[in-house]
């Protein structure tokens, strides 16, 4: 596999009316009751723990799975745990039409892949992307492919900085390359 390609089985974060959930905030992703936790290994169990309908997510998810969410994913607080809980579960990628600004930075800086896909609502509405599908995304070219359904779609390619930080496996290593020892 090319090094710019990520693939995995998707979980589409839908509400009861089968719509992509928008504005999922960091308290729904990782509740402030667990902010005192600093061990990565303990964070996974709380992922999506305050999101109605998704509280059993940590038990259901498998290593390498991909999360598909609605716009403004990760709104709210600056807590790194809201990204780290997905790292702890070994989630491969989060796809959303847009992200909370701080959330996006936190993901980029920790070398966790996040990608924007403007057409996501439409793709989900017409069931071109459904939970359980296997997808493949090239984050340099922006080409996405639902392997299960053989449907292609577009994502926004990563910026050079995001790509470089991802390749360096995080901001610290990237910074060291720039001389911030």
């Amino acid at each position: 596999m090319e090094e710019s390609v990520l693939s995995g089985r998707i979980w589409v974060l839908l509400d009861r009316k089968e719509r992509l959930i928008e504005d999922i905030d960091t308290d729904q992703i990782y509740h402030n009751a667990f902010l005192h936790i600093t061990e990565l290994s303990q964070m996974g169990q709380y992922a999506l723990g305050n999101l109605e309908g998704w509280k059993d997510f940590p038990e259901k998810v498998h290593s390498g799975d991909i999360l598909v969410a609605g716009r403004n994913f990760g709104a709210g607080s600056s807590r790194q745990q809201a990204v780290d809980c997905f790292t702890a579960l070994n989630i491969g990628l989060i796809l959303a039409p847009s992200f909370g600004a701080i959330y996006f930075r936190n993901a980029v800086n920790s070398g966790f892949p996040v990608l924007k896909c403007a057409a996501l609502d439409e793709l989900v509405a017409k069931k071109a992307l459904e939970t359980g599908d296997k997808i493949e995304v090239n984050f340099r070219s922006g080409e996405g492919w639902d392997i299960s359904k053989d449907i292609s779609f577009k994502v926004e390619p990563m910026s050079a900085v995001q790509y470089d930080i991802l390749k360096a496996e995080g901001l610290f290593n990237y910074g060291k390359k720039l001389g911030h020892e």
Binding site: D25, D27, T38, N50, G76, I102, H180
Partner: protein, 416 residues
């Protein structure tokens, strides 16, 4: 092409040419961490950099404001992790007695117009109120900033919002803020800087500007600025921080992603209904909704002026039996002012619980939490499901919260 306010501030902190959409490396004037986020900043720092000194200890701070003094053993441990690191590194700690970090940085004259400030508080963009580029960041970003004094930042586009008309009592700065949040929602300003113009914002006091700019976070915006200001703001900021105030102005030919006009004339008190801060209605539509408890404080409404507004409503009266009201000053300075001005006494005599300064219920560190089925009316900035507990939280001004606590149901000044 001319530059907007945010572009001018960042241009003063980078050698690269600033334009929207471009990622630049920029210098940070102040790097801070609080008791949440802070311990992980320390952990990241020591893992990556060991004993190496921070880039500049005079520009690096800890501000404890979340669980102050700690009411859980975990926070006690976490604060001590930060203190130990701070002592070793020679970094100043604004400890558990000081209050909300972003406010302390303004009072101490550390967050000044035209400067760049980061911290582990998602409402750090509140500093837009004083023309400072403040930004909340996660613990990886902040550890990196402690060491390098720099961060990467994608220059956001700017939206220009012109407010038409003015407002007066019983509407307050919070009502204006909630109304604008209702109009802009979480989409119009998403991931953008916002410049607000018009008499209504130009004439806001420092406290009002803080309330207003604090909720740009809830608009999903990067930061909000109010470039125009009156003379009284200059003296207010001078009195509080000893700093001479000025504000960057957008250049005439600067380019905006969008220009929005909002007519605010006839503004009446507003309330945000659970579970979203932009789910805003006129208070009259919610009259009679029963409440169990009230909360006045937070970085949005915890200044002396806010508590004075509440005290004016509560003076000589008693909170309805069976209802509780919790009041949390933003900072120790605010605490001193309400003590000296008799505001604390009015609040106390009305039956309110008044605590030491801090962030309180916005994170689970302090008072302001709700149990299942409990209904709270709060001056805070967020009412997301589950954030302050299993109950429901309505957001409103200090005036509406105080009045509601007198009646035990959502009420306004006119009901008195």
């Amino acid at each position: 092409m001319g530059k907007t306010v945010i572009e001018k501030i960042i241009q003063g902190h980078t050698v690269e040419e600033v334009k929207p959409g471009k990622i630049v490396w920029m210098d940070l004037d102040i790097r801070s961490a609080r008791d949440f986020g802070g311990p992980n900043v320390v952990k990241n720092y020591e893992r990556e950099y060991g004993e190496t000194p921070v880039a500049d200890k005079k520009k690096t701070y800890f501000t404890f404001d979340l669980c102050v003094p700690p009411s859980s053993l975990k926070y006690a441990d976490n604060q001590q992790i930060c203190r130990k690191f701070a002592r070793k590194q020679g970094i100043k700690v604004f400890d558990v007695d000081c209050g909300i970090g972003s406010h302390v940085l303004v009072e101490e004259g550390l967050a000044q117009a035209g400067t760049t400030v980061v911290g582990t508080d998602s409402h750090m963009n509140i500093l837009g109120a004083v023309g400072c580029f403040g930004q909340g960041m996660g613990d990886v970003d902040i550890a990196f900033a402690f060491r390098s004094g720099k961060t990467w930042f994608e220059i956001p586009e700017t939206v220009k919002v012109l407010l038409k008309g003015s407002f007066s009592s019983p509407a307050t700065a919070k009502d204006l803020t909630l109304y604008i949040l209702k109009k802009l929602g979480t989409k119009k300003a998403a991931l953008k800087a916002v410049e607000f113009y018009g008499e209504a914002v130009k004439n806001l006091t420092l406290s009002g500007r803080i309330t207003f700019c604090s909720m740009v976070t809830e608009m999903a915006g990067i930061i909000g600025f109010i470039p125009e200001f009156g003379d009284s703001l200059k003296s207010e900021i001078k009195d509080i921080s000893g700093i001479k105030f000025s504000h960057h102005q957008a250049e005439k030919d600067s380019s905006y992603a969008d220009e929005v006009e909002i007519d605010i004339s006839g503004l009446v008190p507003q309330v945000a209904v659970p579970f979203s801060p932009d789910n805003v209605q006129d208070v009259s539509e919610l009259k009679g909704v029963k409440i169990d408890t009230g909360f006045i404080g937070s970085c949005t409404n915890g200044r002396t002026e806010d508590l004075a507004l509440a005290a004016r409503i509560l003076q000589g009266k008693k909170i309805k039996e069976g209802v509780t009201l919790k009041v949390v000053p933003a900072t120790r300075r605010v605490y001193k002012e309400i003590l000296e001005k008799g505001i604390l006494e009015d609040l106390f005599r009305s039956g309110a619980v008044v605590s030491n300064p801090g962030c309180s219920g916005c994170a689970e560190g302090h008072m302001g939490l709700t149990g299942e089925g409990e209904v709270q009316i709060s001056t805070g900035n967020r009412n997301f499901a589950g954030k302050q507990g299993k109950g429901k939280t309505y957001l409103a001004s200090p005036v509406v919260v105080a009045a509601s606590c007198l009646f035990g149901s959502i009420s306004s000044q006119e009901d008195l």
